[in-house]
């Protein structure tokens, strides 16, 4: 169990690192996927070792994968719009909400 959780933690941290440090929006999204999968691993692991008589964790993971796919679609659409408006997909360019 420790191994699963450690893997998930490492995956999540890599994803987090990517989200915060990457400049490319596509990269950020990929890192996000990493974080999702880290969470999925956690769910599955807890399901397997703690509440063994239930499949809730497995089902939830499947849901997250589906929702993540949909989210990726929306995200990529936003990226497309970003590219159209700023002629680039650098996240630093998008700071119109700056005061």
């Amino acid at each position: 169990m420790l191994a699963y959780l450690s893997l998930a933690a490492i995956l999540f941290s890599i994803g987090m690192f990517g989200v915060i440090t990457r400049r490319n929006v596509i990269g950020i999204m990929m890192s996000l996927e990493l974080m999702f999968n880290a969470v999925n691993i956690n769910f599955v692991a807890f399901n397997k070792f703690i509440v063994t008589d239930s499949l809730l964790g497995q089902i939830f993971s499947a849901f997250i994968i589906v929702v993540a796919a949909a989210e990726a679609v929306v995200g990529l659409a936003i990226v497309l719009l970003l590219y159209r408006n700023w002629q680039g997909i650098n996240s630093d360019q998008v700071n119109v909400m700056k005061w």
Partner: protein, 694 residues
């Protein structure tokens, strides 16, 4: 019909309301409606009178308890007894005549309808006063007649003299009414009832101490003194002649001024119970009578002569009633009550006629001054003859109605030589001044040719009422012939056989006295055997005194009005200095206080408000730099939060998972550091400058 007697006053009220609210603009309709109503009232009064006679004067009473307290009952009701029936008759008859007459007299007046509305209101009040069954109600109507009298005296309020006169009348009678009110309070306090029957029963039973009864009777008499213009409150009546003449005839000769006499007659039981109060009443009556008669001798205004004559005759009645109370309380037989009420009735007719006649004369020559008239007999025949009939009646010449009633008044003074002498003197003077008036007005050479030529007889609507009243002036007295076994005298005593013997001696004396008065007037003003001017010269001081009405007005001016005015002025000064000072100080202080408040508001309150705003603004100025607009920067903040949260909280909760937790926190912290390092390198601040640098 007696049951419906309450309708008698209500019909004129209906006329008043309808005229005022609905057809004020239709003059003809207004006047005809008012007259129709009073004629219906008159018909009902006649029926009530006949029924009362048929009942042999048994009183009829109906009432509704208005306020019912354990010790005090207030009623609204009617009482029809012989006195009421006679008064109803008199008021409606004179009222109807006056209203018809007014069509002619008031013709062309801009407030024609209003005049009839006021007359109707007056008739309502007066009839209500007459049919009332208790003292409280009589007081209400008492004040109402006062009000309508005020309105009608001041009917031509554009004239300053009329406006002053109506104020004077109102205020002067108010003095008497205060007495009446105090009397009522005493009645309510000591007897607990205002009902005539109740009051008289308790008084007769001796519930009230004698002293209190005397006071009560005198206070109630105060009201009568005011309304009936008795000494010393008589000053308003002559001035009240500023009103239209029909008003003088109706209110100030026949009805309202008779209300005082009616009140005394109505509450005669009070006076029978108190010798002293009766004496006061009798003395005031005779003093008034003599005083007014002497003034009337020298006045030149036709209406004022009649006004003083009215005061004098009212004094007669009051004196007769007072003497009745005096004699009866001492156990003597007296004709006073009957004489007073009888004279009240006959006087209403002939004095109303005199005033209407005077109005007709004024209508013809447009002046009030008898010195400017003369010889009008040929021009105004009906007026002149009816006027002379009334004069004969008031002088007490056989067989006119005044003869019978006056005779009774004089007879009632039997046993009081001073009173008898003075009444005879007054009778002489009455005959004299009435015929002085007649001779100066209708006989001799016209003294003002211009006015004489333009004089003309009044229209029919004015002369017909004159003729009706003349008829009554002759015959109304016959109901009280001493030879009738069931005449007026026993009628007013509720059917008891009450009778005064016909005294030939008395009749002879009074006729001689009256006749000599007429003869003297004839000699002075027709034959001019005795020159009035020479008399005037010889008795200059007396003449001046009389001409100025004993200086009563001046006396009141100095004795009452000036102190009151001075007091008023003092109060005004107090008001201007102290009260206004206080008010102004309050205002000034408020302004200063408001200034202080304003300063406090401006600097302290506003300061606090603005200060907090300023503080927020400055804080925002600092914190706004956090909003970089970069998503990753925000994510970094979230991360920081999670890390800090984990460090301080989850360390304790997930105690069994200490290692993984710590490791996650550690790893996240490393990531955090990486992010922060990137931020410090300027990685997130990709504004134009940063980009261009790259």
């Amino acid at each position: 019909m007696t049951k419906y007697a309450f309708l008698i006053p209500l019909l004129p009220l209906l006329a008043f309301v309808l005229i005022v609210f609905f057809f004020r603009w239709k003059e003809k309709l207004s006047s005809l409606f008012a007259i129709a109503m009073i004629i219906i009232s008159w018909v009902m009064s006649v029926m009530v009178l006949l029924e009362t006679i048929a009942r042999h004067g048994a009183p009829y009473e109906a009432f509704y308890q208005f306020i019912n307290l354990p010790k005090f009952i207030l009623e609204i009701g009617i009482l029809v007894d012989p006195l009421t029936a006679v008064m109803l008759m008199v008021v409606t008859t004179v009222g109807a005549c006056v209203e018809v007459y007014s069509i002619g007299y008031m013709h062309g007046d801009p407030r024609f309808s209003r005049f009839f509305a006021y007359l109707s209101l007056f008739l309502f009040s007066m009839l209500g006063l007459v049919v009332a069954n208790n003292f409280f109600m009589i007081f209400i109507f008492w004040e109402l007649v006062g009000l309508t009298s005020y309105l009608l005296i001041g009917f031509w309020f554009e004239k300053k003299s009329a406006a002053d006169a109506c104020k004077k009348a109102f205020i002067t009678t108010r003095v008497g009414d205060l007495g009446f009110l105090v009397g009522l309070f005493m009645m309510g306090f000591y007897l607990g009832t205002f009902n005539y029957g109740g009051v008289f029963e308790k008084v007769a039973a001796g519930v009230v101490p004698a002293g209190i009864l005397t006071l009560m009777a005198i206070f109630v008499f105060g009201g009568a003194v005011g309304k009936s213009a008795q000494f010393p409150l008589h000053v308003w009546l002559p001035d009240a002649m500023e009103g239209p003449t029909p008003v003088s005839a109706l209110i100030h000769a026949a009805t309202m001024v008779a209300a005082g006499v009616y009140l005394v007659a109505r509450s005669i039981t009070l006076y029978v119970g108190s010798t002293e109060a009766s004496l006061v009443v009798a003395v005031i009556g005779i003093v008034t009578s003599v005083m007014a008669a002497t003034i009337a001798l020298v006045q030149n205004d036709i209406k004022r002569v009649l006004a003083y004559s009215t005061i004098s005759q009212l004094g007669y009645m009051i004196m007769a009633l007072g003497l009745y109370g005096y004699d009866t309380s001492l156990g003597h037989h007296s004709a006073g009550f009957y004489a007073g009420t009888f004279h009240l009735m006959t006087h209403a007719f002939f004095k109303g006629l005199l005033f209407l006649g005077a109005g007709s004369v004024i209508h013809a020559v447009h002046t009030n001054d008898i010195q400017d008239m003369g010889g009008l007999l040929s021009k105004t025949k009906i007026t002149a003859y009816t006027f002379m009939i009334a004069s004969l009646s008031i002088s007490g010449i056989f067989p006119f109605s005044g003869f019978w009633s006056k005779d009774e008044v004089i007879a009632s003074t039997g046993g009081h030589p001073i009173f008898m002498f003075l009444t005879l003197v007054v009778a002489f003077m009455t005959a004299f001044y009435m015929w002085r008036l007649c001779f100066l007005t209708f006989f001799g050479k016209p003294r003002d040719q211009h006015r004489f030529e333009h004089a003309h007889e009044s229209p029919k609507v004015m002369t017909v009422p004159l003729m009706i009243l003349a008829f009554l002036s002759i015959f109304a007295g016959w109901v009280g012939l001493p030879w009738l076994s069931n005449g007026f005298s026993s009628f007013v005593f509720h059917g008891e056989a009450y009778k005064t013997e016909a005294s030939w001696l008395m009749m002879t004396i009074s006729t001689i006295v009256a006749g000599s008065g007429i003869v003297v007037a004839y000699l002075m003003y027709y034959k001019k055997v005795i020159s009035p001017e020479r008399m005037m010269e010889r008795f200059k001081p007396i003449y001046t005194l009389l001409y100025n009405k004993y200086y009563f007005d001046e006396l009141y001016q100095v004795g009452v009005l000036n102190p009151v005015m001075a007091f008023g002025r003092l109060m005004w000064k107090f008001d201007a200095k102290v009260i206004d000072g206080l008010v102004n100080f309050t205002g000034w202080f408020t302004i200063v206080w408001a200034d202080i408040q304003q300063w406090f508001d401006k600097w302290i309150i506003d300061g606090a408000v603005n200060g907090s705003g300023w503080l927020v603004r400055q804080g925002a100025n600092v914190l706004k730099f956090i909003q970089s607009g970069s998503m990753q920067f925000y994510a970094l903040f979230i991360l920081t939060g999670i890390v800090l949260f984990g460090i301080f909280k989850f360390e304790l909760v997930f105690i069994s998972y200490r290692w993984p937790t710590l490791s996650i926190i550690f790893i996240l912290s490393v990531v955090l550091l990486a992010g922060v390092s990137r931020m410090i390198q300027g990685g997130y601040e990709t504004n134009e400058n940063a980009e261009s640098e790259e």
